[in-house]
Symmetry: none
Subunit: 420 residues, 2 copies
C-alpha cells in the first residue's frame, strides 16, 4: 500500500511554521507497513489544493492531508474537497453540538465562526475530534470515481492530528488490508554518544540484511536503535528481531534503559514507584526542566516529592542550606555546591533521593576554567552523596535536556546497583 | 516570480529525519519576494524525481532541490537531472581536485566513492561548495526546452545548502529580476482563543485584499496574526501593514504581547528586567514548566529568583507555608491554596512577585466538582494577592503549556496596569 502526505497552509510555504506533521505521519505510516511515496505542501488555495489531492489520489492508495480545517476564512480545505468531488457542503447539527459542548466545558460560549466547522462535504464520514474543535473527514473512494483509494482529511494542530490519525484513520486503513508485514522494535540508550555506542556495538554487518535493518537515531534524550524486520510471517520477523536484540544487549546492554516508546523519565519513575522511593530535585542550570520531565508522567505525584529551582544564591542558601562560604570559595558551578544542593533538597523535602544540577547553560557566561556547557550533577541518598562533572554544548535548551538525561540515567544506574 | 522547493531523501519520507531545509528555503525565498507555490518531498528514486522536477519546472519560474548529491549509490539526483534533460554526466577534473583538497585539509585521504561527486550533467553550471564536498548545480532553461525557468540543485546538508543558496543561487535569481516586494509582520496574542479573538477583532474584510492578507495561527502559546503585504514598492507595502496593525491594536491590542519572533516569556522577562523586579514561582500542576519557560531566556538570572515545585502537600506546607487546614478544607486545587502558594514563594525567596499554579493536569484525577483541566493560578505582589480559575483541556502537557501562557500573560497585564 502506498501513501501520499499533504500538509496545507500558507504559513508552511513562507517558512513561518516548521512542519512537523509530515515527518510524524511518515514515521507512523512506515511503522504500519505503508510505503510513503511522496509528501507535498501547498498553501490555503482551493485550486492548488484540488490539483494536489487529485494527483495524490491518482498515484497512491491512501492520501492523508493536514491543515486548513479551522473556523476562519483562510481555511479552505473543506471547500476544496467538496469542489473536487463535486458535492455540496452540508450542515451537520450534531457536530455543532459537539463543538458547542467543548466550549461549554471550558466555560465559554461558542463564537459564530465555529459554525463553519460543522459543514461537511456530502459522502464523507466525520472523524469526531475529542481533543479539539475541527473534526476530521474520511472517504473511501469508489472505483471509477475520481480515483481509487482512501482520503483522510485531518486538522493541522499536531496533537489533534495525531489523536485522529491513531484513533480513527489507522484502524480504517488496517481494516482495508494489504499491508506488508513489518516488525519494528527500538532500544533506547542514554549516557553515551552515537559514535562511541557504535564502536562499543562492534561489527554488526553479518547480522543485517535486506530483511533486517538497524537505524541509529541520535537525539537529546539519547541514541535510539531502531530494528526493522521485513516480510515473512510474524513469527519469523519477530525471531530475527529477537536475535539482533540479544546481540545488542550483550554488547551495549549497560546503556539500554528501555524499549520502543518508553522515555527515561517514565522508566526511572516506574523504578522509583516499584521501590517506594521518593525524589526531590534542586535545579540551577536546568531551571525546572528536570522537575518538568519527571512530572510529565501521569501518577508521578506518588514519587515526586518536589523541587526547588535555585536560580539565585539566596535560594541556594536560604531554601537549600548551601553554605555561603562554599559559594564564595568555589562558585555556584562547583562540586561542593552540587553536593550541598542535592543533600539540601533531600533534607528539606524529606525525600529518599536528592538530585541537583548547577552549570553554565549559555550562550554567555563561560570562563576559560568553566566554559559554557560545564555542568555538575549531584546525587544524594541514605548511602551518601556524590557529584559528577559533564562537559556539554553551547546551546542553552540542549544543555537543559542533556543534563536531565545524564542525571536521570544516573538515578537509574544507582537503583540497578541496589542504591540506596 | 513563483518557486517550488523539492527536498529529496528516503529518510525524509519515513520520518527518520525531520526536514528543516524546506522551511528555511520557504522563508528565504519569501523574504526575497519570491512566491513559494508548493513544496514536495520525494525519495531517492530516479523516476519519481524526474516526474517531480518536470512538474515543478512546468508550474514555477524557479525550482530549488536539496538532497541526493552525496557520494553513495543511494544518491540519485545527478543521474535523474541528466536523464530528465537527455544529457550525459561528464567528469570534471577540477571538482575532484576541490574535493580531494577538502579531505586533505581535514588530514584524511579521499575515499574513491567521492569521485561520483565530480560527475556533472552537461549544460549545467557548477556552484562551487566551499563548506562541503558536494557542489551545487545551476541551469537557466531556454524557452522551448523542457520548460522555462531556473533550476538550482543543492546538497541536503543544511549548512552546505544554506551557504550555496545565499552565495550562489540568490544572486543569480536577483539578476534575473521580476521580484515583487513582500512584507510580513506577525502580532502575537495570549489569553484568548482563536474564535473569540476573531469576534473581538470584528469584520476586517474591508481592509483585506489581494495585496494585504491576514492569517490566524493558533498554538499552545497563543494565537499569532500574520499580516502579509504584496506588491508596490517597499514603502507602500509597509504602509498597508502599518494601517492594518493600527486597526488590530485598536480592537484587540489588550491581547497583543509582542511581534514577530518574540515569545511571551521573553517579553515578560524584558519587562521584569526593565522594572528591576524579581519573580518566584510555586508550581504544582505545571511541575516546573513555568520556571523552565522563564529560564529559557538568556540572562534570566537577573529577574528569576527561583521556584518551588510543590508536588507534595509536605512541600506546600513546609517550604511554602501553606496551612494544613486550608489543604484539608479546600483541597490542594483551590483558590485559598493558590493564594497561599503565591504569597509563600514570594516571601520564601524574597521576590517582588510570587506566582503559583495548582490544578488537575490529567489525564486522570478529576472529580465532578474539579474535572481534569481545572487549574488555579495565583499572583502575589506588594499590592496584594489574587487567584483565578481556568478550565483547560484533558491533555497533561497541553495543560502545562496553557497554564504557563495564562500565568505569564497575567504578569504582563499587571505590569502594564502599573503593578506592583
Amino acid at each position: 500500500m502506498q501513501a501520499t502526505v499533504l500538509t496545507i497552509g500558507d504559513e508552511l510555504l513562507i517558512g513561518q511554521v516548521r512542519d512537523t506533521n509530515a515527518a510524524w505521519l511518515g514515521e507512523q505510516l512506515t511503522l504500519a507497513g505503508v510505503v510513503v511515496r511522496r509528501m507535498a505542501t501547498v498553501g490555503d488555495d482551493e485550486k492548488a489544493l484540488q490539483s494536489e489531492i487529485r494527483q495524490s489520489l491518482d498515484e497512491s492508495d491512501l492520501v492523508v492531508t493536514t491543515g486548513g480545517l479551522g473556523p476562519t476564512d483562510d481555511d479552505k480545505t473543506r471547500e476544496a474537497v467538496a469542489g473536487l468531488f463535486g458535492v455540496e457542503l452540508a450542515f451537520r447539527g450534531e457536530i455543532l453540538e459537539d463543538i458547542r459542548e467543548r466550549f461549554k466545558l471550558r466555560g465559554r460560549s461558542m463564537p459564530e465562526s465555529n459554525r463553519s466547522q460543522a459543514m461537511v462535504p456530502a459522502g464523507f464520514e466525520v472523524l469526531s475530534n475529542r481533543v479539539g474543535t475541527a473534526p476530521g473527514l474520511w472517504r473511501e473512494i469508489q472505483e471509477g470515481e475520481a480515483a481509487g483509494g482512501m482520503l483522510a482529511v485531518l486538522p493541522g494542530v499536531p496533537y489533534e492530528m495525531k489523536h485522529l490519525f491513531a484513533e480513527e484513520v489507522l484502524p480504517r486503513v488496517r481494516r482495508r488490508g494489504g499491508l506488508r508485514a513489518i516488525v519494528h522494535r527500538t532500544l533506547r540508550t542514554a549516557g553515551i554518544g552515537e559514535s562511541s555506542l557504535q564502536e562499543a556495538a562492534g561489527d554488526l554487518s553479518g547480522m543485517l540484511s535486506d530483511t533486517l535493518r538497524l537505524a541509529w537515531l541520535p537525539g537529546p534524550g539519547g541514541v535510539r536503535l531502531r530494528m526493522t524486520s521485513f516480510g515473512g510471517d510474524r513469527e519469523e520477523a519477530d525471531g530475527r528481531i529477537a536475535q539482533l536484540e540479544a546481540c545488542l544487549r550483550d554488547r551495549i546492554g549497560a546503556y539500554v534503559y528501555g524499549a520502543n516508546d518508553e522515555t527515561l523519565e517514565e522508566v526511572v519513575g516506574h523504578m522509583l514507584r516499584d521501590r517506594s522511593l521518593t525524589v526531590a530535585v534542586a535545579e540551577s542550570c536546568t531551571g525546572g526542566y528536570v522537575a518538568h520531565a519527571l512530572t510529565n508522567i501521569p501518577g508521578s505525584s506518588a514519587y515526586m516529592a518536589g523541587g526547588v529551582v535555585a536560580y539565585s544564591n539566596r535560594a541556594k542558601v536560604d531554601v537549600l542550606g548551601v553554605s555561603p562560604d562554599a559559594l564564595r570559595k568555589h562558585g555556584a558551578v562547583s562540586e561542593v555546591v552540587a553536593v550541598q544542593m542535592a543533600e539540601g533538597v533531600r533534607r528539606r523535602l524529606g525525600a529518599d533521593l536528592g538530585l541537583s544540577t548547577t552549570g553554565v547553560a549559555g550562550p554567555a557566561g563561560g570562563t576559560s576554567e568553566k566554559p559554557v556547557g560545564t555542568v555538575w550533577i549531584g546525587y544524594a541518598d541514605a548511602d551518601g552523596v556524590a557529584a559528577h562533572r559533564l562537559q556539554l554544548v553551547r546551546d542553552r535548551m540542549l544543555n537543559k535536556q542533556l543534563t536531565t538525561t545524564f542525571l536521570l540515567d544516573r538515578v537509574r544506574k544507582n537503583m540497578l546497583a541496589g542504591r540506596p
